[in-house]
Amino acid sequence: MSTHTSTAAAPARSSAGSHGVTFSGVLRSEWIKLWSLMSTRILLLLTLVAIVGVGALAVLIRYTFLDEMIRNARDQGQTLTPEMMEQTFPPGSGFDLYNLPNAGLQIGILVLGSLAVLFMSSEYATGMIRSTMNAVPRRTPAFVAKAIILAVISYVITTIAGVATFLIAMPVFQSIGFDLDWSTDGVLYSIFTGGLYVAGVALIGLSLGTLLRNSAGGITVLVGIFFVLSIAASFLTLIPGDFWKYVPQYIPSDAGGRFLSIGHTDGVIDPWQGGLIFLGYVLLFLIPAMIVLKKRDV
């Protein structure tokens, strides 16, 4: 390999420019960092495919189930119309179709959340963090830039995937008589909030990557919060007494999940309350991460 070097005259100051650090510059820098990794590009593309894929699968399962019910009813000489089903079952019992755009959301949470952990933890693992801090010694702008980029990318990917999933679901359910289209109550709401929820998960992932500085640890904790904790909390409902039945809805994944649904149910927090609680969790991770990043030696 040729390693020819020139002791060429050091260039005049003008060639390096003389601008200071600007926030838009830091944003552009983090954008270049994200897209210049082959692994990120592949991961983001696969995430989109995976969310739509899992969503399509969920659509198929629900379609098969509902179609079966209608056939069974017909075989017994009864007529069961979608309208009757919608009226018979209470909201939230699985017969609502407005949340179909978010059918593949769990995959999005897992992959985009992990990507967010890696966006920071890989800088610690490779030593890149020191180059980042040399260029942006105030540190906070680099973190905020990463947060904005992750939130926007998560939002956009989840929204595109949600729209795509719904485009698959709509004709399928229309074919068995369901009145499902863009104007159905809650469809646009769940597309909008699904993106916000995943963006929030990504911000928690970024914070975990910053606090733990370790990829495996950060992803493990993220999975713990969004998947294991929810299962663990469901056991609380087995404890006698009404109090414990109302506890699980306050954990991040359940509060976030409630934010994605519509309508009021007695004894359950309202969607906007779920959204606020989830936002509180995001800030609970984000703020300590920013403080620690600013103070800690790198």
Binding site: A10, I32, T126, G127, N134, P137, R139
Partner: protein, 315 residues
């Protein structure tokens, strides 16, 4: 200009840097020398604001590094050749760093060319050799055409051509009036490159002086003398402030007086002297003299039996 004032860093029970004060001036190359673990890297990291000093302060061009509006134009640093994401190409790494300051792409190409990275610029930095990593680190340091350069072991892993290039580069930049602060454990390299030396040991400054002064000041000049009547000359020379060591039957090392005085004594007493060589002490001698009490990690040679044991164990 870099100014450190009572700069200290304590990690738990271990004091890495124990309140050092020094000034690195513009227009010259200042070397930073010291044994492993003496606190060189920690000091440099504190200058760059990566580590928070336990006490004291350090400024670059009058301000703490993080307070500069355009830090990359003020200071370029190579602290760790592996401060690069292994999955990113050298070009994209530099491009991302340049973007923070709005440094044009043309400058990125310029530093790639200057550091001889053209052929590998589009390859992943993770596959770089140590020398290539150093070149990339130097390219990043030069990116903002900074007034001050801080280079930690810049020639580590470079080929001879690269070493020569770094030496010429830092000399050139110093002549341009820039501040150059570099550490190295290669004393011959320092002797050729630096104008001024700051020697650190166990977190304390041991010496802070021009290179020539350090070489001249630490050890008295010695003279190698070869004579066929060594014991006689030895007793004639011995006296106040003069020490004579006999290493070989006909060879003496004399400290305390110069070659001319030795020759006069020999002439007066009719002793045949067939070699008289002044021994110039090197920076290496000076360094070992200065740091002999400050080395934290002494190396020990393993004894013969220990070396032999694997062989016997194999039988």
């Amino acid at each position: 200009m870099i100014e450190a004032k009572d700069l200290a860093k304590v990690y738990g029970a271990k004091t890495a840097v124990a309140g050092v004060s020094f000034t690195v001036r513009a227009g010259q190359v200042t070397g930073f020398l010291g044994p492993n673990g003496a606190g060189k890297s920690t000091t440099m990291r504190m200058i760059m604001g990566l580590d928070r000093p336990t006490s004291g302060s350090v400024t670059v061009n009058g301000l703490p590094y993080a307070h500069h509006k355009a830090p990359l134009h003020e200071v370029g640093a190579l602290l760790d050749a592996k401060a690069v994401h292994t999955g990113r190409s050298a070009y994209n790494h530099l491009l991302a760093m340049a973007a923070t300051h709005g440094i044009p792409k043309a400058r990125v190409h310029e530093v790639i060319e200057m550091t001889g990275l053209d052929a590998v610029a589009k390859k992943k930095a993770g596959g770089f050799s140590l020398g290539m990593g150093q070149r990339l680190g130097i390219a990043a340091a030069l990116l903002g055409d900074p007034q001050t350069l801080i280079l930690d072991e810049p020639v580590n892993g470079l080929d001879p051509e690269g070493v020569l290039w770094v030496r010429n580069l830092v000399r050139y930049l110093a002549n341009q009036g820039k501040t150059v602060f570099l550490s190295s454990h290669l004393m011959s390299e320092m002797a050729q490159t630096a104008d001024h030396l700051i020697v650190i040991g166990r977190g304390r400054i041991i010496a802070d002086a021009p290179v020539q002064e350090i070489i001249a000041g630490t050890r008295q000049s010695r003279t190698l003398v070869r004579t066929d009547s060594a014991p006689q000359l030895s007793s004639l020379l011995a006296g106040d402030g003069v020490t004579v060591d006999q290493s070989e039957p006909e060879t003496l090392t004399v400290t305390g007086i110069g070659p001319r005085e030795i020759a006069e004594v020999a002439l007066r007493n009719g002793v045949l002297v067939y070699e008289l060589t002044p021994q110039v002490s090197s920076l290496e001698d000076a360094y070992f003299d200065l740091t002999k009490d400050e080395v934290e990690y002494h190396s020990h040679l393993t004894g013969g039996p220990a070396l032999a044991s694997p062989a016997t164990a194999g039988k």
